[in-house]
């Protein structure tokens, strides 16, 4: 198992470096932003560009880039949006909002998704199952900004339960902040709940028809006991990794929701960097999203191994 994990990690790091190198070269090939001549930061920025090797070959530049990250954790300075500020400082200020919204959303989604999935599986081929499956299908198909709009219009405008946009400030755990986070959390959760429901239903219907379930019932367990103790545990093999994957995955997919509800998070920063041509911030975001995507994949794979002894045994030979 350890060997497998190390192998996967090693492979992940190589892929990460290849992608970073590709994006790095492509970003450095772009014409540099013109700096305002009278600003006091301009001189510093020009000197930094010299130190970062902007006149050297791309591989040398990449080497300096990596060296700065590993020795000083220096991701460069913002040259457009937050003129002259450290990119990592800006980024780390934006991270808590994104993390919190995603965290709450996943906490909300797990119980709802799994419970609805269990109901649909237990009532298979009845109207309950058909309704739930249809709703799930609809929610998965419809793009997230459509229900973001519905939430905003109904809950924020008509009913006036929540503020329109997320509160600014850094008091992450104050009640007002939490209330203002509810709309983006809801908008993010719909899709996640639907995908958990679908996974749980698909897995559970398969497990419920297997022979060990019949055995469990024959030896005298009630249906509830058999479902909880035998069926659900077997489903966990698929569900738990999908929870890990989903958590890391929605970190990367929330740009639209962040834009609609003005969440002061990483997605909004990335979007601003893209439209504002701030290459250093964009480079950091690229690394972030790439790492998040790779981590999601590897965590799913490894957690399969931890949860399911069959896969663990298989990898040992």
């Amino acid at each position: 198992m350890l060997k497998y994990v190390i192998k996967r990690l090693f492979y992940m790091i190589i892929v990460f470096f290849i992608i970073t190198l590709m994006c790095f070269v492509l970003i450095r090939m772009l014409p540099l932003p013109v700096l305002p001549p009278e600003d006091s930061h301009t001189k510093v920025l020009l000197m930094r560009r010299e130190a970062l090797g902007y006149n050297e070959p791309y591989l040398v530049q990449f080497w300096i880039f990596l060296k700065n990250i590993f020795t000083k954790f220096d991701w460069g300075l913002s040259e457009k949006l937050y003129f002259g500020r450290e990119v990592w400082d800006i980024f780390s200020q934006k991270l808590p909002a994104t993390m919190l919204v995603n965290f709450y959303s996943i906490i909300l989604s797990i119980p709802f998704g799994i419970i609805i999935g269990i109901i649909a599986a237990l009532k298979k081929n009845t109207w309950v199952d058909y309704t739930l499956s249809t709703v799930t299908m609809v929610v998965i198909s419809v793009p997230s900004f459509v229900y973001a709009f519905l939430i905003q219009y109904i809950f924020c405008y008509k009913l006036k339960w929540f503020p329109f946009l997320m509160k600014s400030g850094t008091d992450w755990f104050s009640p007002a902040m939490f209330v203002s986070m509810i709309p983006p959390i809801m908008a993010l959760s719909f899709g996640t709940i639907a995908s958990f429901t679908r996974t749980t239903r698909a897995e559970l219907t398969e497990v419920l028809t297997s022979e060990f379930m019949l055995l469990a019932r024959t030896k005298g367990l009630t249906k509830a006991q058999a479902t909880v103790r035998h069926a659900l545990r077997n489903c966990a093999v698929v569900i738990v990794p999908s929870i890990f994957g989903e958590f890391i995955g929605i970190l990367g997919g929330a740009i639209i929701i962040e834009k609609i509800f003005a969440v002061p998070g990483v997605g909004g920063l990335t979007l601003n960097a893209i439209t504002g041509l701030d290459y250093n911030i964009f480079m950091l975001s690229t690394c972030f999203y790439t790492a998040v995507g790779l981590l999601a994949g590897i965590v799913v794979d490894i957690s399969y191994g931890f949860i399911d002894p069959r896969i663990r045994m298989g990898s040992r030979k």
Binding site: C23, M29, M137, V142, P143, Y153, A202, L271, T275
Partner: protein, 513 residues
């Protein structure tokens, strides 16, 4: 008993035997039923799936909408009205027949008597009453000169198109003449008598006031409760001669324009002026966007681009993916591993990053749409190649492949004539599921503003949605119709795709892949 029975059959004379078949030749009967092809079989299975069939019909309707809506609509992409911006859905015919959702109605809350008089002023002058109905009236008390006075305010629904009323316009002399001719021909009043700002307490920004007002702009009524007209009669400021329709109550002394350095300024009724310009009254069945674009045709135009683009991307991705996957799956070994790693690396690049880099590098050189297309093609084929690879691994060791190889078939013939047709069902299914994926991504990216298609396609669903989102509370129709369209399109494509999958691969029914 048994013995006796058996004895009966022991010594049967030879002449008692006869042939069952003598002249007939024994052979299999020819198949009476018609041979059913793989596709026909799949279609029969598909047509049994009611929800997928319904989805297919709705899909057809949406596609027809995308094709014909821009043709039916009298407005094109370039027809941006500067005044009818974010206006609600309106059709004159429907409004006359009392269909509320198409009456161009907006709800105005808490209108006091000053505001009510303003609406009445428009109604009296233009003959088009903007107030459709009163929803509620509130009673409230205010202190006025030391006494408590009871006042009323109303929640009303008004026709936004009528409520626009009169606007100021500056015309050249020829244009002014042309409008007069048009008025004479059609008998519709466009130009209304001029009002000097000095007569109406110096108000210059509200062309709808033609009556006596106090310093705050509230109407001052005469003792019968009627407006006191303040139309200008000063012939010396008149811009040009006026020989056309005059409003009731005009004895010929009112002036209809004002001189403005080589041109004339007039008060025109916009609704009728619009009729003069376009040859028909405003008709926006879905309302207008925040750019003043007809949403009906805008959605059609956006959808048309999305659909064509998605089909194009899918076709390219399927071709590349199928060939790549075929080579991978057929040769296996180190080729497979190398190609798999390349695909893996490309697949891991976040899509936002891919699109952005393509926009940065290529948009200016080859245009926005081609660079957008390249971004989709760069990573889009990977799913398809993985699928084809799997199918090839499944089929390549089967006997029919070995037989073909023994007969001397070349590698490419084996790949594309023998193995590939077996995977065709999977590929068709995949296609039906790729298209909504591409449309969804395209909408998201244009919604976020990373890619701006408006110079090429005019608009896109994503752009319309982001424009609508900015005014979602005051003009929800701007967000509603594009949302409904895209939502319906995605649901139907997915249902249709699932139906196709079940039809082509009956064994995998209900399994998500």
């Amino acid at each position: 008993m048994d013995n006796i029975n058996n004895l009966q059959f022991e010594n049967i004379p030879a002449e008692q035997f006869e042939f069952v078949q003598d002249a007939d030749r024994i052979h299999d009967k020819e198949l009476q039923t018609k041979a059913r092809s793989f596709f026909a079989d799949a279609m029969i299975r598909f047509s049994k799936n009611k929800s997928s069939v319904a989805a297919a019909w709705i899909l057809l309707f949406l596609i027809l909408f995308a094709i014909f809506a821009p043709m039916i609509s009298p407005y094109g992409v370039k027809d941006l009205d500067k005044l009818y911006v974010n206006y609600p859905p309106y059709l004159e015919w429907a409004a006359e027949h009392g269909i509320k959702s198409l009456s161009g109605a907006k709800v105005f809350d808490s209108q006091n008597d000053v505001a009510m008089n303003f609406w009445k002023g428009i109604a009296v002058e233009t003959g088009k009453d903007p107030v459709l109905e009163t929803l509620a009236s509130h009673e409230y008390e205010v202190k006025s000169r030391g006494k408590m006075v009871t006042k009323y305010s109303y929640d009303i629904r008004i026709n936004a198109y009528y409520a626009l009323g009169i606007t100021y316009r500056v015309f050249s002399f020829e244009e002014f003449k042309k409008i007069q001719d048009w008025q004479n021909e059609h008998g519709i009043q466009i130009i209304y008598p001029y009002v000097e700002p000095s007569d109406i307490s110096g108000i210059t920004d509200n062309p709808n006031i033609w009556y006596k007002v106090d310093a705050k702009g509230a109407a001052v009524l005469d003792k019968d409760g009627n407006f006191v007209p303040m139309y200008s009669k000063r012939q010396e400021i008149a811009g040009a001669e006026y020989n056309s329709l005059r409003i009731p109550g005009d004895d010929g002394s009112y002036i209809y324009s004002c001189a403005k350095s080589g041109a004339v300024q007039c008060r025109i009724e916009y609704y009728n002026y619009y009729t003069y310009l376009f040859g028909h009254v405003p008709q926006y069945i879905f309302g207008t966007s925040s750019m003043g674009m007809d949403l009906f045709s805008a959605i059609g135009i956006g959808a048309r681009f999305s659909l064509v683009f998605a089909v194009l991307v899918s076709a390219i991705n399927l071709t590349i993916g199928a060939i790549y996957g075929a080579v991978q799956g057929y040769y296996g070994g180190w080729v497979d591993m190398l190609l798999d790693r390349i695909g893996d690396v490309l697949d891991r690049v976040p899509f936002v990053v891919v699109i952005t880099l393509f926009q940065y590098h290529l948009a200016r050189k080859v245009g926005v749409v081609p660079s957008f297309l390249f971004a989709f093609v760069l990573t889009g084929w990977i799913g398809m190649s993985a699928l084809t690879r799997k199918q090839f691994y499944r089929f390549k060791s089967q006997e029919f492949v070995m037989a073909a190889r023994t007969l001397g078939a070349s590698d490419s013939r084996l790949m594309f004539k023998h193995i590939f047709p077996n995977a065709i069902g999977t590929i068709i299914t995949r296609c039906a599921l790729i298209i909504p994926g591409v449309i969804g991504t395209e909408t998201s990216v244009t919604y976020l503003g990373i890619v701006d298609l408006s110079s090429f396609a005019g608009t896109s669903i994503g752009t319309l949605l982001s424009q609508g989102n900015a005014t979602a509370t005051t003009a929800p129709h701007g967000m509603l119709w594009p949302s409904v369209f895209i939502g319906l399109l995605m649901i139907c494509f997915n249902l249709f795709g699932n139906g196709l999958r079940d039809a082509f691969n009956p064994t995998t029914r209900g399994v998500e892949d």
